[in-house]
C-alpha cells in the first residue's frame, strides 16, 4: 500500500514535469490548438472504434453476415490501426497538456484500464480462436469463444469512450 502511494506520488511528479514541457504549455495555452487536437482525437476514435465494432458485430452474427470474418477483419484492420495511431498520438498530447490534472481523475484511470483490457482481449483473440478463422463456415455461427471475445470488445470500447467523455465532465466542471 505504502509502495503503491510512492509510485503514485512519483508518477504525479512525472506529470508535473510533463505539463511544463514547451509542447504541453503551448497546447494548454491555446484553446484553438487544444480543441483542434481533441477534434482529431475524436476522429481517430471514430475510425478505431467504428472498425472494431464492425468486426465485433460480424463475429456476433449481427452484421456483414455474407462476408467471411477473416475477409472483414483483414480489410478493416489497416483503418483500425491508422485510427489508433491518430488516437494514440493526439491522446498523449492531450494528456501531457494537463497531465497533473488528468492523472488523478478516476475516469481517466478507468479509461486506461479498459483500454489495456481491450488490447489484451484483442491480443488473446488473435493468438487463439482467430487462428482457425479460415475454416469457419459462412452459414454457421462463429465459435462461442469468438462471440465472447466480441462481446467483451464491444463492452470495453463502449467503456473507453464513456470514461473518456467523463474525464471532461469530471475535470473541467
Amino acid at each position: 500500500m505504502v509502495m503503491g502511494m510512492d509510485i503514485s506520488a512519483s508518477l504525479l511528479g512525472v506529470c508535473h514535469w510533463l505539463e511544463k514541457t514547451p509542447v504541453s504549455t503551448a497546447i494548454r495555452q491555446s484553446s484553438l490548438l487544444f480543441n483542434a487536437i481533441i477534434a482529431i482525437h475524436t476522429l481517430g476514435i471514430i475510425l478505431t472504434v467504428g472498425t472494431i465494432w464492425l468486426v465485433d458485430l460480424r463475429l456476433l452474427g449481427f452484421g456483414l453476415r455474407r462476408e467471411p470474418v477473416s475477409d472483414v477483419l483483414q480489410q478493416v484492420l489497416p483503418w483500425t490501426w491508422s485510427g489508433f495511431v491518430v488516437m494514440f498520438t493526439t491522446g498523449i498530447l492531450l494528456f501531457c497538456a494537463e497531465a497533473a490534472t488528468v492523472f488523478p481523475s478516476i475516469s481517466f484511470r478507468i479509461k486506461i484500464s479498459l483500454l489495456l483490457l481491450a488490447g489484451l482481449n484483442a491480443l488473446v483473440f488473435h493468438k487463439t480462436v482467430y487462428r482457425g478463422a479460415s475454416a469457419w463456415k459462412l452459414e454457421s455461427p462463429t465459435p462461442a469463444r469468438a462471440r465472447f471475445a466480441a462481446l467483451l470488445s464491444l463492452t470495453f470500447w463502449i467503456g473507453v469512450v464513456g470514461a473518456g467523455r467523463a474525464i471532461a465532465y469530471e475535470v473541467y466542471k
Binding site: S31, L32, N35, I38, A39, T42, L43, I45, I46, L47, V49, G50, T51, W53, L54, L57, G63, L64, R65, R66, E67, D71, V72, Q75, V76, W79, I158, V161, G162, R165, A166, Y169
Partner: protein, 159 residues
Amino acid sequence: MPIFSLFQWLDHTPIGEALRSNPVLFPLVSIIHLLGLAMLVGTILMVDLGLLGVGMRRQPVWRVAGELQPFTWAGLAVMLVTGPILLTGEAITMYCNWAFWIKLSFVALAILFYFTAHRRATSNTSSLSRKQMRSVAIVSLALWLCAGLAAKSINAFRQ
C-alpha cells in the same frame, strides 16, 4: 420570434430541468450521443472508403452498404433522440451559440445527402461512374466532418 419561444419552452420542459438538477444525467446522455455518433459515422465512413476504392475492396460497395445500413440507422436514431434531449438541458445557451446553428445546418445537409445521393451511389442498381462515386464519398465525408468540427466548436464559443 417563434424559434426563440420554442427554445425557451424546451429549457423549461421537465427533461431540461432534470438534466440541470442531476449532475450525472447530462454526461450520461452525452456519452450515449457519442456512442451513437461512433456507430453512425463509423459505418458511413466504411461505406465512403469503399466508394473511394480504399475500403473493403473484395466486396461490392452496395453489398457492404446494405449490410451496414441497419447500424447506420440505429446510430442515427440514437443521435436524433439523445441530441434533442441534450438540447433541452441548455436550449437558450445553444440558441445564442452560432456554432450550434452551423452544426445543425451541417447535420441536416449530411442527413439529406445520405438519404439521397449517397443512397443512390450505394444501391445495387447504381450506374454511377467511378469518378461520381468518389465525389459522393468526398462530399459525404466533408459534410460529416464539418458537422463534427462545428459540434466540437460549440464549447469553444460558449458565452
